[in-house]
């Protein structure tokens, strides 16, 4: 029982990341009909937004502190971040400590702008071209974005810690009435899951309960008719692309404390996210979210020691295996809509 709960919890954080990326991919596919291979790169850029902000916050100048000496006996040089001057030392420290959550505010506008530029500058010209061309050009774009990030930030992973308050672990077992220390779960992963749930909820609410969302949904169902009604559907779809980019970016921002960002993290996630989208059903938003969590949890179950003893290596291939089975038995995926990408 404890083991099962533990594996479900373990699956949730990875599943959250899959679900968020897959949600963005599906938004783009459902609205614009474009298969975006650069979506993983957007996730990666989001992660590097967090790195950038924490670097900006720790920008500092050096002062000579006469009261202290370093090991050579000279007056010690102390780095003073500029935020100290603005907010005082205590608040400054807190701001630096909370760099990752603060990056959310920083990442949203950045990712929106990147999304707009991408859609208007490049993807717009590929609506009428075959899906293979779309895959290829966004694949090229992903390589370019990845290399640009590598040029500025280097090839090594950059550790970006979570705020001090969330670094510990939560003893889930004790809370549920099991023996203590059986189910231990880091706070940050709980936060990641809650955050993902909020974002997913917000996206669905936005599409379901606002006029804008209603128009977008109508456009997804029949773009031409909505256009004929005198609505500028292209502009709304561009905004949706920006939104999808922001969702991917936020997934990346919050993922940095779990896994130090490096320039190829996006590609690693992209391959899996595509599988997730296909399993969920092309063009189905609930399908993408469901499949994301489902595959995340399946993956963590497959890496249990008991399972590996019977079927070694299962954790490495489970997602692909499930994808193959689903695609062959349910061609539309778990919740795919009729008539979307059925060739």
């Amino acid at each position: 029982m404890e083991a099962i709960i533990l594996q479900i919890l373990n699956g949730l954080d990875k599943g959250s990341a899959y679900a968020l990326i897959a949600l963005g991919l599906t938004l783009i596919f459902g609205t614009l009909g474009v298969v975006n291979f650069a979506h993983g790169a957007l996730f990666m850029i989001g992660a590097f937004c967090a790195v950038t902000l924490s670097r900006i916050l720790t920008l500092s100048y050096t002062v000579v502190d006469e009261t202290k000496t370093d090991f050579l006996g000279n007056p010690a040089k102390v780095d003073v971040p500029y935020v100290y001057d603005l907010f005082g030392q205590a608040t400054g420290d807190a701001i630096i400590d909370w760099a990752v959550p603060l990056s959310i505010l920083f990442a949203i506008p950045v990712m929106m702008v990147i999304g707009f530029v991408m859609e208007r500058g490049l993807i717009k010209h590929f609506y009428t071209r075959p899906h293979a061309d779309q895959i290829l050009v966004t694949f090229g774009l992903a390589i370019v974005l990845q290399e640009v990030i590598k040029y500025f930030y280097g090839a090594n992973p950059i550790p970006t810690p979570a705020p001090q308050a969330f670094t510990g672990s939560f003893d889930f077992g004790a809370a549920l009435g099991f023996d203590p220390n059986l189910i231990i779960y880091p706070y940050w992963r709980i936060i990641y899951f809650v955050f993902a749930a909020i974002i997913i909820g917000a996206v669905f609410a936005f599409l379901q309960f606002t006029t804008f969302g209603m128009v977008v949904r109508a456009g997804m169902a029949d773009r031409e008719t909505v256009g004929l009604l005198g609505i500028n559907i292209d502009r709304r779809f561009t905004i949706m692309f920006g939104l999808a980019a922001a969702v991917a970016g936020l997934a990346g921002v919050m993922y940095t404390p779990i896994n130090s960002p490096n320039y190829h993290m996006g590609m690693d996630f992209l391959v899996l996210s595509f599988v997730v989208v296909v399993v969920g059903g092309m063009g189905s938003l609930p399908g993408a979210v469901l499949a994301g969590f489902l595959l995340g949890i399946l993956e963590s179950f497959a890496s249990m020691r008991e399972v590996l003893a019977v079927l070694p290596g299962l954790n490495q291939i489970i997602i692909y295996l499930v994808a193959i089975i689903i695609l062959l038995t349910r061609p539309r995926g778990l919740m795919g809509r009729k008539g979307v990408m059925e060739e």
Partner: protein, 399 residues
């Protein structure tokens, strides 16, 4: 000639000439000149040109003719490599059975994978092939370690005693062709030039020419026409009473066997293999090669493979010092500025150049370098010639 039309035969002759004289053509700069680093005429790189040329030709038979975009083609290359190296470790150090084994193993694997993945088309096919390739990679990396050597891969070791070889105790076996060492080279010094004629390269080159010839035959055959029909309109094809599935599967298996041949040749050249050969970036690379060169054309994939391998090996070697030498004639401030501008695109950043180039090709030149060359030639010949070319070009589908 050889069952080819005159134009195709000329193309084959040109390609044969270029590959057989490659040691001369790729070494245009004297050893002592500053341009010597642009020489690509050393055996290791030349072998890569032709081997990846084979890989790309095979990929093009699938993608160029049927339009099925496989994102997991490196799996066949990897499986072929593993098959070949086991043949060398156990049976014989001769490269012929090893390469043959590579082709057979890759073909069988492609048959199995193709049988399943070809049930779907479009993006689903891409994802399915990607899933199979990633699965093979993950398995080769972890569970199948007894067969694949896991992370370290497989090499020929001093403890390997192939059945048909008479090695002395502790001697490390070397790949050979009836006793001729793959690494044997004949070096020719002409003035300041050094030309290397490597046995391994010529074996790979002959294999490449054979595959190229076969590809021409497939392109011009009724079977090739059938594959083009699949690309242009599968529904209409089945309404005329033809089942597209066996044809696509045949194309898939042929293309997998080409990949196996490339894998076997890679093993024959360097007698080692590792799982990273099957990673999806390797599959992406062959897609890049084919598109860059010109998808659906005969010569395109070979050009693309050459261009990418050249960039990978030559462009990536240029560093800041070299740039400083080149731009030494500029005033100091300007020199630094120019170098800062160029530096991100060369050396370690060559992938950036590749990515940009690839995007430009996909956006503006869907026919790749070949189409670029044709447009250039047409522009040079003037308007009149282009009128003559116009109707002729339009009768060729899938190009």
């Amino acid at each position: 000639m050889l069952g080819l039309e005159k134009k195709d035969f000329q193309l084959l002759l040109v390609v044969a000439g270029l590959t057989l004289l490659a040691p001369f053509i790729l070494n245009p700069f004297p050893e002592s000149s500053g341009m010597a680093q642009f020489n690509a005429g050393y055996p290791d790189l030349m072998q890569r040109f032709v081997i990846f040329g084979i890989f790309a030709i095979g990929f093009n038979i699938l993608f160029g003719l049927t339009g099925y975009l496989s994102f997991g083609h490196a799996a066949f290359l990897g499986v072929g490599s593993y098959g070949a190296i086991w043949m060398m470790k156990l049976i014989s150090l001769n490269v012929i059975p090893a390469i043959f084994m590579g082709i057979v193993v890759a073909g069988i694997f492609a048959l199995a994978v193709g049988f399943i993945t070809l049930r779907r088309s479009g993006i689903y096919f891409s994802i399915l092939t990607l899933a199979f390739a990633q699965m093979s990679y993950a398995l080769a990396y972890s569970v199948l370690t007894p067969i694949t050597g896991g992370e370290t891969g497989l090499q020929i070791k001093s403890t390997d005693r192939p059945l048909l070889s008479n090695l002395e105790e502790g001697e490390i076996g070397r790949a050979n062709l009836f006793g001729m060492d793959m690494r044997a080279s004949f070096e020719l010094n002409v003035g300041d030039w050094l030309f290397t004629f490597n046995a391994g390269y010529y074996i790979a080159a002959i294999a490449m020419l054979a595959s190229f010839y076969l590809a021409i035959r497939i392109f011009r055959s009724p079977f090739g026409m059938m594959l083009r029909a699949i690309k242009s309109n599968q529904t209409r094809m089945s309404y005329t009473g033809l089942n597209p599935r066996p044809h696509t599967l045949a194309a898939f298996v042929i293309s997998g066997m080409y990949a196996g041949l490339a894998g076997g040749l890679l093993v024959a050249m360097d007698t080692q293999v590792g799982p990273e050969r099957m990673f999806w970036t390797a599959s992406g690379e062959v897609v890049l090669m084919t598109i860059l060169g010109g998808v659906g054309t005969l010569i395109g994939p070979v050009l693309g493979a050459g261009a990418i391998k050249y960039m990978e090996n030559i462009l990536s070697k240029i560093n800041k010092d070299v740039l400083h030498q080149w731009f030494a004639f500029l005033p100091d401030g300007l020199e630094d500025f120019v170098i800062t501008l160029i530096y991100p695109f060369i050396g370690k950043g060559w992938h950036l150049t590749l990515g940009i180039l690839f995007m430009l090709v996909v956006i503006y030149l869907p026919g790749g370098l070949v189409e670029g060359g044709q447009r250039l030639a047409r522009a040079l010949r003037g308007k009149k010639a282009s009128d003559e070319d116009g109707p002729k070009a339009s009768t060729e589908p899938a190009e």
